[in-house]
């Protein structure tokens, strides 16, 4: 009888783990991805034109070069740097198509050279994105995002009319167009 009691106790002990096993939770899990693509974009807006103002030739070979710096948003004699604002949310290459001369209404031309640079929009012409430099036809400004968000930069244009060319030109209004093409590779 004593041996039977011990055996039942053993049975009870050995049954217990089975009962615990039946209470173990059953779990399963899996993951799914979430994804999105934000498309590349850019948007232009014209700030102001580049103006050399009214120039009075000396007529004796002493006419000075007429220069508008890229950060001269307002200058004497009706001069001003030109700029456009460019919003972009991915690296952008801006190609400049600049004329070698301005065209007069009477058919004459006036040689011109340009400078350009870029700055964070609203920075008042302080060039903190690209240093100002020569800006010839087919030059490319490479703009990259400095942070993790989109940006807007102002691209400024200045230029120079040589004094000798001014003296040689007929009195007229001379104009030209700088064309900018943005490509996001």
């Amino acid at each position: 009888m004593t041996k039977l009691t011990i055996s039942l106790a053993t049975l009870a002990l050995m049954v217990a783990p089975a009962g615990v096993q039946a209470q173990v939770n059953t779990n399963t899990n899996n993951t799914i991805g979430v994804s999105a693509t934000v498309g590349k974009a850019f948007r232009w807006s014209l700030g102001q034109d580049l103006l050399f103002g009214t120039i009075a030739p000396e007529g004796d070979g002493s006419t000075a070069n007429v220069t508008v710096a890229t950060n001269q948003l307002v200058a004497a004699g009706g001069r001003q740097a030109g700029y456009v604002s460019l919003y972009f949310n991915a690296a952008t290459n801006v190609t400049v198509a600049a004329p070698a001369s301005l065209a007069g209404g009477l058919g004459g031309t006036l040689a011109v050279t340009f400078t350009c640079g870029a700055a964070t929009s609203g920075n008042g012409g302080t060039l903190d994105v690209l240093a100002s430099g020569a800006c010839a036809d087919a030059d490319v400004l490479s703009l990259t995002l400095s942070g993790t968000g989109s940006e807007t930069v102002d691209i400024f244009f200045g230029g120079t009319l040589a004094g000798a060319d001014v003296e040689a030109a007929a009195a007229d209004t001379y104009t030209g167009t700088i064309t900018l093409t943005a490509v996001q590779p």
């Binding site: 050995m14 934000v38 991915a90 993790t148």
Partner: protein
């Protein structure tokens, strides 16, 4: 130990092993698990092309873009989800995500409709064997910022199904 005593001991061992190894799988089946519970990813939650500053919601009835998983098993179950607060780009930019009631759905095999629930809290239901596999759908709102950088954004959602 006598021969009778050894007999008791062997009998007890045999009974114990039989109970420990035999009934457990049967109890597992009755509980609906027992290794028969599987969760498979069918398709990711894909927002596709987003425009900066333009929030976009994927609904559970958007068959192309919704996330989808297949659940096989039977019995009482509870779904829990580990939801990301945002998607990330390789450069570290983020797009906020928002999930709320109606952004998750459960469709039993024989049911015509989808039962909506809130993926931010656990959801309990009973899956009958005739309704297996069930489908779990997931949508949500993505809110790219106005200055959102272009690029690929991603995150992961972990779905956990537990049986009590």
């Amino acid at each position: 130990m006598t021969a009778r005593g050894r007999g008791y001991a062997v009998l007890c061992l045999a009974l114990s092993l039989s109970y420990a190894w035999g009934p457990a799988p049967l109890q597992g089946q009755a509980g609906g698990g027992g290794g028969g519970l599987t969760l498979s990813a069918v398709q990711p939650l894909s927002y596709g092309l987003l425009t900066a500053g333009d929030p976009d919601a994927v609904t559970v009835d958007d068959v192309v873009r919704r996330g989808e998983l297949e659940l096989k098993g039977k019995g009482q179950m509870e779904i829990m989800m580990v939801l990301p607060a945002s998607m990330l780009s390789p450069e570290g930019a983020e797009i906020d995500l928002d999930f709320r009631f109606g952004d998750a759905g459960l469709q039993l095999k024989r049911a015509a409709g989808v039962t909506l629930f809130d993926p931010t809290v656990s959801y309990s239901f009973f899956l009958d064997s005739k309704d297996s596999p069930a489908r779990i759908f997931l949508g949500g709102l993505a809110s790219p910022a106005a200055d959102q950088a272009a690029g690929e954004y991603s995150a992961q959602i972990t779905v956990i199904v537990a049986q009590p």
